[in-house]
């Protein structure tokens, strides 16, 4: 690990606009610092600035950025009204990591691409301009949607997939003030600048995540992985589906580990609404979702897997 200056922020104001790398749970940052994939000169510890409350905002909820993943998943209102979020958080990592990881930090976790993590292979995300060793390499867990010639890495997390489905927003405070970013717009596609994972600006701090009023219905998070637990997703599907009689009344969907960001497609959600759930409908939804999907060789299977995982989730959520 490279040497750095360490300091503790006493309040949020000290963190906003700070040139230092912020650290809270540290479960991903310290992992990368040990590998010297991340080499900050200064760390600012923000664990003591508050931002650790979950409060009701009308029918919605405001979750402080420093609430731990565990506390969020175990919160009575989240379990009752947004169980999708609980399920997604609990599907990720291990209890030990969830106890430490924070909501804001989790959004900022970086890809698990082996070529990014090894600290030496060509990687445009780690060292812009060096190339992408994952293309033509071991890419079983890489993107099938939204990838670019510069980068085929995926966003590896679970929580953000649920938040994307639920149309949460991210509240930030930066040198230019407070702003609210739609969760679906928070992470970026790689394009020709994969070094940036999200739209945060320098000095900008995530302060909270907002959940809009719950829409009810069934909330499912289906994570397909190589181990039964403690493994990153091959693909995941987050779904909140509300029925009206025998027709789908509302559908919120997002997909994990298939793109550089939690993948959402409003066209697919719209296609489902008002329809009777049938295997044929699920197939049509998958066709639309995957019309631009492209495998890299080892990950071609993800195209089939997403199709089948989506069908499973929709069948379970609609009772078909």
């Amino acid at each position: 690990m490279k040497a750095f200056e360490y300091d503790r922020a006493g309040d949020l104001a000290q963190a906003v606009g700070s040139p230092a790398m912020l650290i809270a749970g540290g479960t991903n940052l310290l992992d990368l610092m040990k590998l010297e994939v991340a080499t900050p000169d200064a760390l600012l510890d923000i664990t003591r600035v508050g931002l650790n409350e979950i409060t009701s905002e009308g029918a919605g909820l405001r979750i402080g950025a420093l609430v731990s993943n565990s506390d969020c998943a175990a919160h009575p209102r989240i379990r009752a009204d947004w169980p999708l979020l609980s399920r997604a958080i609990l599907a990720g990592a291990s209890p030990q990591l969830r106890n430490k990881a924070t909501m804001g930090g989790n959004l900022c976790q970086r890809t698990r691409c082996g070529y990014f993590m090894d600290g030496r292979s060509p990687c445009n995300k780690r060292e812009p301009g060096t190339g992408c060793a994952a293309q033509g390499g071991v890419n079983r867990n890489h993107a099938i949607l939204g990838a670019s010639d510069a980068c085929i890495a995926t966003y590896p997390g679970d929580m953000a997939v649920a938040l994307s489905a639920l149309r949460a927003t991210v509240e930030t405070e930066g040198p230019d003030g407070i702003r609210e970013i739609a969760m679906r717009d928070f992470h970026r596609l790689p394009g020709d600048d994969p070094s940036r994972d999200n739209v945060l600006k320098p000095g900008e701090v995530i302060t909270a995540i907002r959940l809009p009023a719950p829409i009810g219905g069934r909330h499912l998070y289906r994570k397909v992985r190589d181990r039964a637990s403690y493994a990153f997703a091959l693909v995941s599907v987050a779904a909140s589906i509300r029925m009206d009689g025998d027709r789908i009344d509302a559908a919120q969907l997002a997909f994990g580990s298939i793109a550089h960001k939690p993948w959402t497609d409003e066209r697919v959600e719209k296609l489902l609404v008002g329809e009777r759930p049938t295997p044929a409908l699920f197939g049509k939804a998958a066709d639309l979702l995957l019309e631009d999907a492209r495998g890299q060789g080892h990950n071609d299977f993800k195209i089939t897997l997403v199709r089948r995982a989506l069908a499973a989730v929709l069948a379970e959520a609609t009772g078909e």
Binding site: Y6, L30, N99
Partner: protein
Amino acid sequence: MAQRPAARLSVNGQSHEYHGDPRRSLLDVLRLDLGLTGTKKGCDHGQCGACTVIVNGRRINSCLTLAVMHDEDEITTIEGIGTPDALSTLQAAFVAHDGFQCGYCTPGQICSATAMIEEIRQGWPSAVTADPADKPAVAEAEIRERMSGNLCRCGAYDNILAAIRDAMAQTEAAR
């Protein structure tokens, strides 16, 4: 440049001041500075659970946290859970059920399970809880899922499960 803040750690009830290299993980402070080598380093990246300790009542991977970040925190390591002559109920159950072989993952398993039992008592859901809104059952599937952050390469899982169940039953009976 800010002056580097020190950290006052309370480890197994004993107070320690740490003002060394801020790069040092809580795990390495325990092992190297405090001589508490019961906490093990298996991967140093949060991928095995051998370094699990309990901080302010919660289990964490001590490898993925800096010691300087634990000012005023209450830390419990395996040495604080029991000694060879005075084992905790869970430790004794691990011996009786052979819930280990090489013993290297064992302190982490026991710290993790100690905290897990409390999490179940508090009604925290897990990934296998049928409805997250419900209080979880004390079922084997729940324990297996909740202990999945602790690898055991010797493959003692079946015995670890038996040990945990036995200790939970003993504790419940004693209540």
